[in-house]
Symmetry: D2
Subunit: 368 residues, 4 copies
Amino acid sequence: MSDRILAAVMEAPHQPIVVREFPLPDLPVGGALLRTACSEVCGTDVHLWHGRLAGVPYPIIPGHVSAGVLDRVRGGLEGIDGSVLREGDRVVFFDVHRTCGRCRACTVHRTPTRCTARRVYGITDSAADGLFGGWAQQIYLEPGVGIARLPDAVSFESYIGGGCGLLTAVHIIERATMRPGDTVLVQGTGAVGLSAIALARLSGASTIFAIGAPAARLDLARRMGADVVLDLDATTAEERLELVRAATHREGVDVVVEAAGSARAFEEGVTLVRDGGRYVVAGHYTDVGPSTINAHQHINRKHLEIRGCWGSEAGHFLRALSLLERHAAHVPWAEIGSQRYGLHSLNEALADAAAMRLTKALVDPWLS
Amino acid sequence: MSDRILAAVMEAPHQPIVVREFPLPDLPVGGALLRTACSEVCGTDVHLWHGRLAGVPYPIIPGHVSAGVLDRVRGGLEGIDGSVLREGDRVVFFDVHRTCGRCRACTVHRTPTRCTARRVYGITDSAADGLFGGWAQQIYLEPGVGIARLPDAVSFESYIGGGCGLLTAVHIIERATMRPGDTVLVQGTGAVGLSAIALARLSGASTIFAIGAPAARLDLARRMGADVVLDLDATTAEERLELVRAATHREGVDVVVEAAGSARAFEEGVTLVRDGGRYVVAGHYTDVGPSTINAHQHINRKHLEIRGCWGSEAGHFLRALSLLERHAAHVPWAEIGSQRYGLHSLNEALADAAAMRLTKALVDPWLS
Amino acid sequence: MSDRILAAVMEAPHQPIVVREFPLPDLPVGGALLRTACSEVCGTDVHLWHGRLAGVPYPIIPGHVSAGVLDRVRGGLEGIDGSVLREGDRVVFFDVHRTCGRCRACTVHRTPTRCTARRVYGITDSAADGLFGGWAQQIYLEPGVGIARLPDAVSFESYIGGGCGLLTAVHIIERATMRPGDTVLVQGTGAVGLSAIALARLSGASTIFAIGAPAARLDLARRMGADVVLDLDATTAEERLELVRAATHREGVDVVVEAAGSARAFEEGVTLVRDGGRYVVAGHYTDVGPSTINAHQHINRKHLEIRGCWGSEAGHFLRALSLLERHAAHVPWAEIGSQRYGLHSLNEALADAAAMRLTKALVDPWLS
Amino acid sequence: MSDRILAAVMEAPHQPIVVREFPLPDLPVGGALLRTACSEVCGTDVHLWHGRLAGVPYPIIPGHVSAGVLDRVRGGLEGIDGSVLREGDRVVFFDVHRTCGRCRACTVHRTPTRCTARRVYGITDSAADGLFGGWAQQIYLEPGVGIARLPDAVSFESYIGGGCGLLTAVHIIERATMRPGDTVLVQGTGAVGLSAIALARLSGASTIFAIGAPAARLDLARRMGADVVLDLDATTAEERLELVRAATHREGVDVVVEAAGSARAFEEGVTLVRDGGRYVVAGHYTDVGPSTINAHQHINRKHLEIRGCWGSEAGHFLRALSLLERHAAHVPWAEIGSQRYGLHSLNEALADAAAMRLTKALVDPWLS
């Protein structure tokens, strides 16, 4: 194998993605190289391209959730589950490669996703520092990264179809403290929303409503487990509210999940949840402007709980793998990543994603 | 004793309170008459007077939390704690005299304060139906009302000084899931806010901040347990935020309690709480208009929990009594009710309360 | 229709069940008569027959969970969901017909299943007081009983197959605070255990283990959702522990549900759950003697949570109905009630149940 | 300063403690040397001496919680709170110096105190590996240890008086999910029990009961905040149960904390807690043999929650410091460490502790 590989680089916001050659790194003990089988273009990548995240050390190699085959390992490599990993193994890894374990967020508050020293593949590391992103033929796995064997029953496409959205959805469902029989409404039918629908279904939800667009995503939402899909473009907020109330003893649903990332969605969500219900806000990864709500009507008198949900932890990653192992055969995660792009087509992929022409683009860096 | 007594009646919103004679009712078995020693004019009464609550069956006798001496009892009267109550006993009662125990709010959702059949003394019963409010020389306690003996150590003034605000504060502290050592900020230094400060102090809070006005209330806030008081009129929101951050590792506080009932307070509260903290919204008893927040900055990235808190339950009433019994000697609840009004002075009391010239007016219906 | 009906009476512990004629009661306003379609013989009835429950006012008409058709209604009858109920409607009712809503268990502690005034059909009311049990052709539904329409999609057999065990299981799953992907082990494959398996499956459990006997119940356990069934008679506790550890990263399971009612089962359960896991104890409805555990090994060092789970609330009843409506078509609840007995065969039914020859006997009081 | 210092070594269980000279280590970047001002002899040290803990790499330098002055620092030293630490600073450190952050206990289960790679000063490191215990004139603080400045208001004696027992108590109170007004009973008046009493008092407990011995500890228990002390040697379990029930509406207390480490205490604890209450088991650090309870009476029908509580986390350490800062002036933590021993007197200290002649021995390694 050659000692140089190709990676796609985002040099700055709004600039075209360029493909560059990179040397393969010397591995320290406990480090590894992953031959990328599949990575993704997700909503975060569009945000990165639009320059909407603060503190990003451009140029970067994007691609935070990825899967592949261990190409080279130096010293014994231990998986996050304690197993021994070997060259040739099909593996995936937790994209958050560092949290400090010492700061008040990590210790006193037990909110490691708010650790200020948090580092994430594809986002927080400069391309100058090495192969820290999935839009590359090889990814450098530094010592300590949480690596796990991908279960045989799970295809690369299922894993990446779920991708970071699935990890977020595992966190969402945990925050939602669901009980079987709860009614659930998911705002947004992108990657996060679709996985949230699937996990709500697996958690014993009774009726699941989904609000989204376009039609193809709504169709997929149904197949992920939604009972009732509401086309954002074909209905008004008033119509949706009436429909939900008519189906829920005129109460609204037990749990609303916000996975839409729109200021209007947040305003609508507080009307759709029942008194005493829970509203998990997980789609506002970037600032899309202010929302206006009424603290009396929507929170205080409603006795409502609103729960922000940021990022995911290693435990969510491991739980996602266990859920995929059991359910990937009958939940169409693989269909979320509807189209496959090579490194030279990623500008097109970003444009397609930004225009919502696809839910998620799969990246195959070996595709010519 | 005469068979007619006096009560103050609110005939309609914005109308002067008038004093009328009422006949004493025939008691059913299990019913009782309470000779009122003390009732209150609280914020809710001002709202009632301003017509800001829906569905109120005017004319009403206001006064929801009250204390007195059992004047007449028909049949055996059992306290909510199972004890036998007798004429002459000093007692108080839970103002919510009916919830259905059958609706979905009462059963499936376990949110009895959202029961649609809920009835509250001083608010939901017409004066035509009898003596269902505390602004009267006698109060009719219908069978089933939750009556408890007032501990000897607790004066009528301490009990009414706490009043409905204390019951709400017990619910607030429960919703806040505080741990000893938490930092707390209370927005609002009215009756609810002052009791929330006292209970946060009893719950082992480290630094307690209070935002309010005017100076006299801030002084009382200090004596209820606040460490740092911030004058709403003498500081800007930016100054308050900077001060709070400087005192909290630049994080914000663990718990913010909203007891101010202003749309601006809600907007400020989400900035003062730390990432992963809890924001209990309890002051928006009526609609004071919309608030504008940013779902990304203030909820999602903050991993924040916002918890509406509506009304109180019988358990909060009993817990309030147990807290008063232990702490009324050293917590100045009696000072919250700063001035005493007879039935003929209640227009003045309402005007004083509306103008925030006092925190809470005490009502003594026997004062001439 | 005749004004006399038949009911089976348990006159005292260890006495044969006898069939007697009862007059039909005059109905008060809000009362109703239910023509029984189906009732059950459950483990509690065996306990009643063996005299293992304290304070039972023999003679009684057993049968606490029942279903039927409204035969007579006096005045408007409102369902617990607020709907209007009419003669001819297929309905079921919550067997706990009174809790006080006033005692400390009901209010301060929010544990209504520990209310001392709690009254339960088939257990706490003497036959001298009327038709308060399901082993009768008609059941008297007193005003205030929580009645609900049985969804069209749910057969009487599915409802009674679930029966009181399903209600308990809804409570168990709530106490277990399950998350999708949790591993679960259920001890006991009686009516409670089988429904707990089904609900764990609906809640997204990954591997579900069941320990029970005999073979027919284990087969049904599989069809309710268990992945691995362990025959209590064919394996030792050591073998079961090793098998569970081998399948769970050598940790033990996340959640153990005790639904066996044996002192040995409790001792075994604490070894099968992982460190930091949850153990819900729900099968010890009567006293079967002491258990010996090690507080260091099994609780303290394990950082274990053990959660007793007693009875069920109206909310569990309503949630059970909603789960049945959605899932009765594909979960074989109807098979739990394997055999149907008339009133004259109930001695045989009790003997069969006591000898574990069947999981649950269905009672059809019109069967000749 | 000399390059050799003295430390007390436990060479094997049941062997006399010996004092040896140790060389001072070369410091790596980020490492530090602490000149010990004060360490402790706690119950764990007695267990170590009796050989009751598995896997201890004797010889060891005991002493897990310690305080002192930074003597030497190599490279910049950052406190766990992010502050810069300098030679001469009064500091303390979290005794758990390693958890892996990768295993299932650390990630999926969020129970880092059950991490299998956990390392604790004074327990898990051999004296051959260096100065990893507090019974030494200097302690080696390896890079990454969680160091914090001791607040000026907190004496070394207050900090060590609280010591590991205080950290455990912070964890206990968190596990107890206390609300102000709860009644609490603490079993055991050793270091853990005394701090649990203090924290329950700070958390707004109403009546606090303590069961313990001898008289001196009970006296201190009162001054830590207990209202009612019950002498274990002068009362029977039946008398204690009757006394507690008489003072708690015949219910038992809301929360029992087991900090006694006796098999009989665990058996008694389940009788003293009310139905639906919480029992935190924290005193069984070692195996003292089996306990016998009744799963029906004590758990299932009681609807009880039993919560094991193992070790403490960095967040508990930081919270303990914040509580000490606020409360050390009025809570007599300094009195728990009643007597001061030099390195040459530690055999005597262990004997005194084992015989319960003192609650905690303070170790001053510079005392001649």
